[in-house]
């Protein structure tokens, strides 16, 4: 289980002052200030110059703040972004371990020059090529800074020559690979179920929640939210529900009773479900996750309270 709770990562353009100014108001667990696709090339220097002031703004509501950097402009982007208050960077386009190692070294330089604790800045890797998806294990284990990994589905479509359609998910295999490899390496998988990764516009709040819940049940632990309407459904879907809490509390109680009687195979009353060690462990972890989510939500509420 990751040492952090980052259910929602709200993506905002670092060039759009209005978006940045409002980014802290949506209760996102993390805010990503985008220096890449959301910023025209000519405006990148200005956007870069804005980052130092934008980080504390984005953090007002208790969010962790990341900057999405351009791989080919990584040095400039990192040196402009790595100030106290930043949690890390989002790297798109990594295809090899060397790509990550290079970013990690640049982060180390920035930490030293800007008085940030050595090794404290993290990397979220967004894979956008067939080579990157295939090399995922080497990429995400290239540095202990890599905390999370996902797919940039739009760019991956371009790379693979896929014309996206809501009718089917072209990345069932790639998403499965991301989920398995990231969890095996103790990294957080981030992503959303189809079609939201390619067609994020959705006016139906319940549909957003349904898609976020499906993402959770695919194995994703966090979502990159393309706009603020996704934050609340993602936070809600990725937090164990009251119904699951009640079920798992009862599971733990019944299992403990069974163990006291000398058995570790206990029928769940009224069903033909069996409770054994993994079911009890699942219950324990779910209850622990709920406590961590509740603590994270309390942190964000406290941050907001400090503003008033």
């Amino acid at each position: 289980m990751e040492p952090f709770v980052r259910r929602s990562h709200l993506l905002v353009s670092a060039w759009d002052e209005a978006q940045v100014d409002m980014s802290w108001q949506h209760a996102a667990d993390a805010v990503i200030l985008d220096l890449t696709d959301a910023v025209p090339n000519l405006e990148k220097p200005q956007a870069r110059a804005n980052i130092k002031a934008a980080v504390p703004v984005a953090a007002r509501g208790g969010a962790e703040v990341f900057v999405r950097i351009n791989k080919e402009l990584a040095y400039a982007d990192i040196m402009a972004s790595a100030w106290p208050g930043l949690t890390g960077v989002v790297l798109t386009g990594a295809e090899t371990a060397a790509d990550v190692e290079e970013i990690a070294m640049t982060l180390a330089v920035a930490e030293k020059e800007h008085g940030i604790a050595n090794g404290s800045l993290s990397i979220i890797v967004m894979l956008d090529s067939g080579k990157g998806v295939w090399n995922i294990r080497q990429i995400i284990t290239a540095s202990s800074r890599v905390c999370s990994v996902g797919l940039d589905e739009g760019r991956l479509c371009c790379h693979l020559g896929i014309v996206p359609t809501p009718a089917f998910d072209p990345f069932i295999y790639a998403k499965g690979r991301v989920i398995i490899e990231s969890r095996a390496a103790q990294r957080q998988p981030v992503g959303i179920s189809h079609p939201a990764g390619l067609f994020p516009h959705c006016d139906d709040a319940e549909e957003r929640y349904r898609l976020a819940l499906r993402s959770k049940n695919m194995g994703f632990a966090g979502v990159i939210c393309p706009d603020s309407s996704w934050v609340e459904p993602c936070n809600r879907a990725l937090t164990p529900s009251d119904e699951r809490l009640e079920f798992y509390r009862e599971t733990r109680r019944l299992f403990a009773e069974g163990i006291a009687r000398g058995t570790a195979a206990i029928p769940y009353p009224g069903t033909t479900m069996m409770i054994d060690v993994p079911v009890d462990e699942r219950a324990r972890l779910t209850l622990a996750l709920w406590e961590r989510c509740a603590a994270r939500d309390a942190e964000k509420r406290a941050a907001l309270a400090r503003l008033t």
Partner: protein
Amino acid sequence: MARRVRRSGLTMPINTPRFVDRSWTRNCDYLNFDFEDSVPQSQKAYARTLVAHAIAQGLKGGADITIRINCAYPEADVPAAVLPGVVHINFPKAETADQIHTLDQLITEAERVQGIRPGTVRIGANIETTLGVANSYEIASASPRIDTFSGGTGYDMSMDMGVEMFVGFDQFVYNRGEGALVAKALGLEYTGSVYLPDTSGNVGDRDLTRGRAEANRKAGLRAGGGLHPNTVEPQNVGLTPTHEEVQEVQRILAYFAQLDERGEVEGELDGHIIDKYEAARAAELLEWSALCAQKDAHKASAQARARALEA
């Protein structure tokens, strides 16, 4: 080694006498006596003393005997589990090739101590964590004793992936694909299952079990297993070719033999193209049908003897 028939099997705590003593009456193709998750920590050592009794009970029904050991204590479990009559060690939560190397060595030593023909006891590697899925190929190729490979689903897997179990879609689709490909690539039997929607978690649902078994058979899968006695007959029936299917494949093989005599490689029978691939599929199904019949006869004979002795 002869191909084993494992259409149905019950996993049960070896320390629960009411399950073990009636296990032979369930008509399972195999019985999986558990040292692992259904046995409390406090009873693990006691469980290791119960294998001989469990073997005797299980063999009365003509079942193959499997022991599921704990991945954390193979040194303690294997010498207790590998007794004459046991043909399979089920190794849960396999994550690395090194675990399998160690297990192989322990089984080799236990076979020597017990006077069991070397290589008799096979390994079923079960994948239940994301690390296991990631290392599937290395695990499955780590020992020639491995003859079945499966997993990537279930409660442990759901826990490691952070997903709920019964969500109405296949959250384990990647894992199933990896497992099936690795097993086929290495010539192992894939003992996983196709996905059918299940939102209840009912481990004794006869209809769901029958539907899944038939879907598995049509997908070329041959193995089953479960926790509840209700799953046994639906799997025995669902994974056995029907009389009509056997007649159909006999016609296909006869037709293909005629083609072959004429020097032709393909032809059309009842609107379907018949070629060497269809013939191979038909031959496999016919072989499987014969093996199922042999197994059923073996179990019936064993059970009849046991009932006569008890009468």
